[in-house]
Amino acid sequence: MNKSGIGLVALLLVTGLAVRANEKPIIGLITKTDSNPFFVKMKQGAEQAANKDGATLMSAAGKFDGDNATQVTAIENMETAGAKTILITPSDTKAIVPAIEKARKSGVMVIALDTPTDPRNATDALFATNNFTAGELIGEYAKKAMGDKPVKIATLDLAPGITVGVLRHNGFLQGFGIKEGDPHIVCSQDTRGDQAKGQTAMENCLQKDPDINLVYTINEPAAFGAYQALKAAGKEKNVMVVSIDGGCPGVKAVQEGEIAATSQQYPLKMAAMGVNAGVQFAKDGKKASGYVDTGVNLITDKPESGVPSKSTKFGLAECWGG
C-alpha cells in the first residue's frame, strides 16, 4: 500500500470511530399497554428525556394488562435492533424473567419501571413508586381524618394476586393501623381497576352495610365508580373516599371534594430516570443498580397534622393523563 492508501485507511478509521462515538444510544421502552394514561405519560417522559439527552427511543407495548408474549417479542426485537438499555413495566412479573435474563446475558441493561419483576433482582435496577408507601399515606391520612368516629371500611381492590393491588391494600391497612380480617373492614370486592365494576362493587357493599363511611380504592377509576354509587345512594357527603395514582382527573376530583385524598405517583420521573441511566451506561459502561423510589406525595386540600401532604395546586402541576 502506498502512502495515500495508508492515509485513506487512516482517515476512514478515524471517521468511523468518530461516527461510532456520535452514534445516539438506542433505548427501548416497553409498557404494559398503550392505553392507560399512566403509560402514555411515561412514554412522553421518555421521549422528552431522549430528545434532551441525545438518545433514540424505541417503544412497544402489550395489548392488554397481562400480555407477556408481546413484551417478550419486544425485548428480542429491540435487542436485535441495537438497544443497549431496555426499560420495562412488566405485565407478568414472573413470566418475563427468562427473556430479561437472556437480554442481560448479551450485555443489555434492563431496568424495571413502576412494577418490580419477581424476583426483583432479575433486572439491573428498579425505578418505581413504593406502592406500599402510597397505600400507607392514605391509610394514615384516613385514620387522622376519621378521628374518634366509629369507622366502617370498604376496600375496592384490583384482582387476586396482582402485586400492585396487594401492596397498596396492605399499605393502607398498615397506615390505618389495622390488620387483614379486622372487623372494621365490612366489605372487600375486586374491581379490576374498572370504573363500572367499581360502581357495582360499591353498590353491593353499601347494600351489605349502609353505614360504610370510609372507602379505600385501588385507583382513581375505581374511586370514580365508588363516588357514582355513593351519590346515587345520597351518601356522598358522609363517606370518605381515598385513592392512589394522582392522575389529572383524580386530582381534579380531590379539588372538587369527591375524593378526600390521593397518593400521587410520577411516571414521567420514572421514564426520565430510566433514559438518563441508559445514556450514562452508553457513555461509560456504568450500569444502574438497586431500587430507586421515584417518590409519592399525598395530595389533599384538607391536610391532617402529622401526615405530610401537598395541595391540589401542586398535584395539578405534576399530574399525568390530561
Binding site: 392505553s35 392507560n36 375486586d190 360502581q199 357495582t200 347494600q207 351489605k208 393523563g321
Partner: protein, 338 residues
C-alpha cells in the same frame, strides 16, 4: 270453553282444550325453564344467607348492574342463534359510547344527534362483521376477533385514552329514576326489559324470527327453501351492533362518563349469559329470555356473595362451574332429541 272438530289435514285430534292447556302452550318449553329454576334457587339461597337480599332496592340495583351485559346479550344471542359468535361486542360498545359522548361534549353536537352517531357507528361495525362473514365467507370467530382489535384501537386513538365527563342531561337520561312503591327504578332498566320483550316476540312469533333459528339449525336447507340467508345474516349482525350501541348509551347514563376502557370483558360475559340461559353455542336453539336469566344469575351471585362477605374470586369460580353445567345440560338434551 270451546269444543272443536277434528282437523283431518293435521291429523291431530283437538279435543276441548282447557284454558290451562292454552296457557301452557304459550310458556317457554321445559328446556328453557332450567335457567329460571336455577335463578329462583340461587335467589332463595341468598335470601337465607342475608336479610338484605330480598329487598326492592337490592333487586333494582342488580337489574342496573346487569344492564351492560344484558343488552349486549340480546345482540350476542341473535348472532349465536345463527351459529355465529361476536367477540367484538364490548369494544364496539365502548367505541360507540366514546363517539356519542365526545360528539356531544367536545364537538358540541346536539345530544340526540350525537347519540344517533354513536348508534350508527356501532351498527356500522355490525354491518362490517356481517359483510365479512357473508361476502368474504370468513368464520365469525375470526372476523369479530379482528374487528374487536380495530374497535379497541380506534377507541384509544379517538379518545386519547381519556375518559369523557361533563355529560349533557340527554346522555344521562336513562340513569334517571322513578318510584315503584319504595324502590327507585332507572329508565335504563325499563328499556332493557322492553327490548328483551320486543326481540323475544319477534324471534318467536314472526317469520324472520323463525328464519334466524333456521339458519342456525341448517343454513343450506334454509337457503334451498328460498330464504335469502346472506342478507338476513347481515341484518342480524347489523342489528346486534345497534344493540351494542344502546348498551353503550345505558352504560354512559349509569356511570356518568364515556369510558374508553369499558367493555373489555363483555364478550366473555355475554357469552356466559347466553350459555347459562340455555341457548346452544352451536346455533339454532335457545330462548332470548334465557340470556336475561343468565345475566341475572351472574349478577345475583355477585351481589349475594358480596352481601355474605365472600371474596370476589369465588364469584368467578361458581360462574365457571355453572357454565360447564349449562353446556352439559344442553349437550344431554341434544342427545335425547336426536
Amino acid at each position: 270453553m270451546a269444543t272443536t272438530v277434528m282437523n283431518p289435514e293435521d291429523g291431530e285430534r283437538t279435543a276441548s282444550r282447557s284454558i290451562i292447556h292454552r296457557l301452557l302452550e304459550h310458556l317457554p318449553p321445559p328446556a328453557s325453564i332450567g335457567p329460571a329454576v336455577a335463578l329462583a334457587v340461587t335467589c332463595a339461597f341468598f335470601a337465607t344467607q342475608s336479610p338484605r337480599f330480598l329487598d326492592g332496592r337490592n333487586f333494582s340495583l342488580i337489574l342496573q348492574q346487569v344492564l351492560e351485559v344484558g343488552v349486549i346479550g340480546i345482540g350476542q344471542t341473535l348472532v349465536i342463534l345463527t351459529s355465529g359468535i361476536d367477540l367484538a361486542c364490548g369494544l364496539v360498545m365502548a367505541f360507540g359510547s366514546i363517539v356519542m359522548t365526545k360528539f356531544a361534549v367536545n364537538l358540541g353536537l346536539n345530544s340526540y344527534l350525537a347519540i344517533a352517531c354513536g348508534l350508527l357507528v356501532c351498527a356500522g361495525f355490525g354491518y362490517l362483521n356481517g359483510a365479512l362473514v357473508t361476502f368474504v365467507k370468513l368464520p365469525p370467530f375470526i372476523v369479530t376477533l379482528g374487528t374487536l382489535n380495530i374497535a379497541y384501537a380506534l377507541t384509544q386513538i379517538y379518545s386519547k385514552s381519556q375518559t369523557v365527563s361533563g355529560l349533557t342531561n340527554t346522555l344521562l337520561y336513562f340513569g334517571n329514576t322513578f318510584r315503584i312503591g319504595r324502590t327507585d327504578v332507572t329508565y335504563g332498566t325499563v328499556l332493557m326489559l322492553v327490548l328483551y320483550l320486543m326481540t323475544w316476540l319477534v324471534l318467536r312469533d314472526t317469520a324472520v324470527g323463525r328464519h334466524i333459528y333456521a339458519i342456525g339449525n341448517n343454513p343450506e336447507a334454509t337457503r334451498l327453501m328460498g330464504i335469502p340467508t346472506q342478507g338476513l345474516l347481515r341484518r342480524v349482525y347489523t342489528l346486534a351492533g345497534l344493540f351494542y350501541g344502546i348498551a353503550g348509551l345505558l352504560l354512559v347514563a349509569r356511570t356518568g362518563v364515556g369510558d374508553p376502557q369499558a367493555g373489555q370483558t363483555d364478550n366473555l360475559d355475554s357469552i356466559t349469559a347466553v350459555v347459562l340461559g340455555g341457548t346452544s353455542l352451536f346455533g339454532g336453539r335457545g330462548s332470548l329470555l334465557g340470556t336475561l336469566v343468565g345475566a341475572l344469575i351472574v349478577g345475583v351471585i355477585r351481589n349475594g356473595l358480596t352481601l355474605m362477605g365472600v371474596s370476589s374470586v369465588y364469584q368467578i369460580l361458581i360462574t365457571g362451574i355453572l357454565v360447564i353445567l349449562a353446556v352439559m345440560t344442553d349437550q344431554l338434551s341434544r342427545r335425547n332429541k336426536g
